[in-house]
């Protein structure tokens, strides 16, 4: 504990010489358009299907929001549309919702809501009035639907049938009056103390995708899917509140009733979220990339300032590498929100140009949790924010690809072996972090599963995040690291501001690499096979007379010829070509390439040397291999690792004995 405080103090001192902090209320100056935003104004980056205009008023004492929304939907589906589905995500936080049913059955991320379901966790969104331009009040026509599970108690999706269809190319305007009750922080949204995280808070229209409406209910493990467009949001809050939002601040005006109204504008995004708290400390910084400067707007919660510089450094490093490797970041801002203690379930979440982070008051320097969460959530600006895949149906395309890029960026920024934990006495790599997750639950579900159809939330996380990252890391062995990076760049540039599918991604990799990789994808993405190769046997024996002609060449003891057998077994069902590197005690080597098709293979050598070592995947490129400890054999035993473990465990055992002996 004391050591931690020293670390925190040291970090705080370092921060004080860095960027500018202010405790002042939210900035009131109008945001200056940058080069990047000027470009976007000139030419939309996305096909803008929706335009939301929302006026919202927060009551921070009750954690409620009253709002009016105008949604202009442009029918670019190519066919007349009469029925429109809408999400009402906040209704997931009700006892009988599909979300809660799944949470009770199979868990969820973070702490989740209390299993006892305390009423303070309840959240809701109620549509008070829904009018359609030209069709009048259609509130009574709203109908809750349950496309995924027929749970009639779930009220997270409703549909509205208009009196007459909207013809292709025409627009329809919805006027929706609604009010939110924020839950106590759960699943990315809600309140904690005086902190309000307002995400998934407004009625949001579904996506016309693959020739049908795609508008799933809110599930325990699913995230979001929406169309691109523009957002003009006016937020009214008490004047002491500091607000952060996923948009450019256009104006700010104080009202006579002690409130202020902040107007935000955002374009070429598919969602809008915001946060408010009087306790935030604002940290401003900036970074300049290939598309111009990007303002970094960091909102820190009390007690967490020790992590501020770490967030900023990780953010700048990530911006730089994504810009360099995958493509430009086209927005002129990024808002980073550090939730307060007690509100950590609002952390680790991505929204367009706004991410939520996570740290603690005593975060040790050697534990890179603030850096990892910053990198990961920013990565989602690419893999979800811009390449807007369907998080309900193909979560691996955002979480998985993002976990892979997390490994690459963290390794680059913080060292390959120390990118998760970095102390002299213990280290952990990002790759190891992903492996630890995946290997705990490797074979229950394929990567390509609907997010809510995994056996449980652990399997969802381990497969979607961990396995996908390892699949791509292992793919580097097949096509090369640079080629995969190029493929990701191509995928990003080609599909940004669209809704690509998994096949689009896989085909891009095949196209860029020029290789047919179906044999790999079939097992790694669509299958549940586990990869585990084992060096089952390796030994050398002197040749005997019955071993035939090879023995005849032996003239004296110095010429003794040894027969060496090396047996490699494929223990798992995942077939993957492997190299076996063999070293003999005279310094000679051999490399065998095995396609892995059979269950095992045995190599034989007659040499004037005995085996020294044999190793499958000597360069450690097959990250999917479940058991790396059985991949090699050395003739000379090296007990140092076991000795080290024994020292630790003997010490732990003795110390426990000493502590318990205190009772005597």
């Amino acid at each position: 504990m004391r050591l931690t405080k020293v670390f925190v103090l040291a970090a705080s001192v370092a921060i004080c010489s860095g960027p500018v902090f202010s405790q002042a209320p939210a900035p009131t100056q109008e945001a200056k358009p940058t080069a990047a935003s000027a470009d976007t104004a000139a030419k939309p980056l996305s096909t803008r299907i929706v335009a939301y205009q929302i006026e919202a008023k927060l009551d921070p004492s009750k954690h409620t929001i009253a709002a009016n929304e105008t949604l202009t939907y442009k029918n670019l589906t190519g066919q007349p549309q009469q029925t429109f589905p809408f999400h009402l995500y906040l209704n997931a936080f009700q006892p009988q919702s599909t979300f809660m049913t799944e949470v009770r059955l199979a868990g969820t991320r973070g702490n989740g809501p209390d299993s006892e379901w305390d009423p303070k966790h309840f959240g809701s969104i109620t549509v008070d009035k829904l009018e359609v331009e030209g069709a009048g009040d259609l509130t009574s026509k709203m109908e809750f639907i349950h496309p995924d599970d027929n749970n009639t108690e779930d009220r997270t999706v409703f549909q509205l049938t208009l009196p007459k269809p909207i013809v292709p190319g025409a627009s329809v305007e919805f006027h929706i009056a609604f009010h939110d009750v924020l839950p106590k922080v759960v699943e990315r949204t809600g309140y904690a103390h005086d902190f309000d995280m307002v995400g998934q808070w407004f009625p949001k229209v579904g996506v016309w995708w693959k020739n049908a409406w795609n508008c799933h209910q809110f599930h325990a493990t699913t995230e979001f899917f929406a169309d691109f467009g523009t957002f003009d949001v006016k937020i009214t809050v008490p004047q002491n509140e500091i607000v952060g939002a996923g948009g450019d601040l256009v104006s700010s005006a104080n009202n006579s009733d002690g409130t202020k109204t902040l107007a935000y504008h955002s374009e070429d995004v598919h969602d809008f979220s915001w946060t408010a708290s009087p306790s935030f400390t604002v940290v401003e910084d900036s970074w300049t990339g290939s598309q111009g400067p990007v303002k970094i707007h960091l909102l820190m919660s009390p007690g967490h300032m020790g992590s501020a510089q770490r967030y900023i450094d990780a953010e700048k490093g990530t911006l730089r590498l994504f810009d360099q490797w995958y493509g430009p970041y086209p927005y002129d801002r990024i808002t980073m929100v550090d939730p307060p203690h007690g509100g950590t379930d609002a952390g680790g979440m991505e929204y367009p140009t706004l991410i939520t982070l996570g740290t603690s008051a005593h975060m040790p320097q050697g534990v890179l949790a603030p850096e990892i969460v910053t990198e990961h959530e920013f990565g989602h600006q690419y893999w979800y924010g811009m390449v807007a895949t369907n998080e309900f149906e193909e979560a691996w395309l955002d979480e998985g690809i993002n976990s892979y890029t997390e490994v690459k960026v963290m390794d680059e920024l913080y060292g390959k072996n120390t990118s998760a934990v970095n102390y002299p006495f213990v280290q952990m790599s990002e790759t190891g972090l992903q492996q630890s997750g995946y290997f705990s639950d490797p074979d229950k579900d394929p990567v390509a599963s609907f997010a809510w159809k995994f056996i449980n939330s652990d399997s969802y996380a381990d497969i979607t995040y961990g396995k996908t990252a390892l699949v791509l890391l292992t793919l580097e062995k097949v096509i090369g690291e640079d080629t995969l990076r190029q493929a990701l760049h191509t995928y990003f540039m080609r599909y940004r501001f669209t809704h690509p599918t998994g096949e689009d991604f896989l085909k891009t990799i095949e196209e860029v690499s020029g290789k047919d990789l179906r044999w790999y994808f079939h097992q790694a993405i669509y299958g549940t096979q586990v990869l585990d190769y084992s060096l089952a046997d390796a030994h050398s024996d002197p040749l005997k007379w019955w071993d035939g002609p090879a023995h005849a060449t032996q003239k004296n003891d110095k010429d003794e010829v040894y027969r060496t057998y090396i047996t490699v077994v494929r223990k798992g069902d995942f077939i993957f070509p492997v190299d076996v590197d063999i070293q003999f005690d005279d310094g000679s080597t051999a490399v065998e390439h095995w396609d892995g098709q059979d269950r095992w293979v045995r190599y034989r050598y007659d040499r004037k040397a005995k085996i020294q070592s044999a190793q499958i995947d000597a360069h450690n490129q097959i990250f999917l291999d479940r058991d790396p400890f059985n991949n090699s054999f050395t003739e000379e035993p090296d007990p140092r690792a076991a000795h080290k473990l024994r020292t630790i465990w003997v010490f732990a055992s003795e110390w426990l004995s000493q502590l318990l002996a205190w009772l005597t």
């Binding site: 904690a192 690792a641 076991a642 110390w655 426990l656 002996a661 005597t664």
Partner: protein, 312 residues
């Protein structure tokens, strides 16, 4: 008084040093139990790691993900490890319950702890100390309640404050209070053990009562005696951990083993230091006590002869 207390403090260390074979024997028992409790794990670790190149992840550094992966294997060397450690720890507790009588006999009587004398004293006091341990469990219940109360108050503070510090500081303060309470309880029960050995007190509730009286009357000197040794223990233990984790490289196994065992030795030695100091304190107390006046029977009542009343 302070000078006498200081003398007791150092005399305690001297006594531990003088009869250091006790420390070494107990340490050896602890070490042997430690080895036995980890034997299965070590065998399996040898089997998995000795001929594996991947084991270098634990040799050249200490890759925590390698540990997790080992734990996740079906024939994990770590999986079988938990229960034996607890079994041998329980065995060590029983051993210490037995040995305490012998240790205290050496310290209280200041006589060379021969094997025979040690085991005789240990056997003689075993059930007494067993009963004391039951009393200790009863006394610890309110402290456990206090810990539970602390936890619930911490939750309440956490809910009310947006800053993590009030909750953290409350827990830190509560932890210090609970730790000091535990030290006080140990001073009390150690004194009861000393009385049981020094005065061959058979009734443990009486020993506890007398010990409590002594503690109450000499609270600061006894408490300070224990607290000083505890602080030395914690500082040396933390220093050992620092050396092990931050100063030793990843590879020198022998040095790491020696440092770890030195830490255990310090933990054990300083605990015995506390016991020895208290034993000396009690000896001095007994020696310096003003003897109460010897009991003399009250004079026999004198009966005056009463004249017989005249018979009617």
């Amino acid at each position: 008084m302070a000078a006498a207390n200081r003398a007791t403090f150092f005399s305690g260390a001297g006594l531990v040093w003088q009869w250091q074979r006790l420390v070494w024997w107990i340490f050896m028992v602890c070490l042997i139990f430690g080895f036995f409790s980890t034997h299965g794990m070590t065998e399996r670790a040898n089997l998995l790691l000795d001929h594996s190149v991947a084991a270098q992840r634990l040799v050249n550094g200490f890759d925590f993900s390698a540990i997790i992966m080992l734990q996740q294997l079906r024939d994990s060397p770590l999986e079988i490890h938990g229960p034996p450690i607890f079994h041998f720890s329980a065995l060590f507790v029983a051993f210490m319950l037995f040995a305490t009588g012998g240790i205290l006999a050496a310290y209280v009587l200041d006589e060379k702890p021969t094997t025979t004398a040690f085991f005789e004293a240990a056997g003689h006091h075993f059930w007494r100390f067993f009963r004391l341990t039951i009393y200790l469990a009863i006394v610890l219940l309110p402290i456990a309640g206090l810990a539970a109360l602390t936890s619930s108050m911490h939750t309440r503070i956490e809910e009310q404050s947006i800053s993590p510090y009030p909750g953290d500081h409350f827990v830190e303060a509560a932890a210090v209070v609970i730790l000091l309470l535990l030290i006080i309880v140990r001073v009390w029960f150690d004194m009861a053990q000393v009385i049981a050995v020094a005065d061959d007190e058979k009734k443990m509730h009486r020993a506890l009562r007398r010990a409590f009286g002594l503690l109450r009357r000499n609270f600061f000197s006894l408490f300070w005696l224990y607290l000083r040794v505890s602080i030395i223990t914690w500082v040396l233990f933390a220093f050992g951990l620092y050396i092990w984790m931050f100063r030793l490289g990843p590879q020198p196994n022998v040095a790491a083993f020696l440092v770890s065992q030195l830490m255990i030795l310090i933990w054990l030695g300083t605990r015995l230091w506390q016991r020895a100091s208290e034993a000396i304190w009690y000896r001095n107390y007994q020696a310096n006590r003003v003897p109460e006046p010897a009991w003399t029977p009250p004079p026999a009542p004198m009966y005056m002869p009463v004249a017989a009343e005249p018979q009617a």
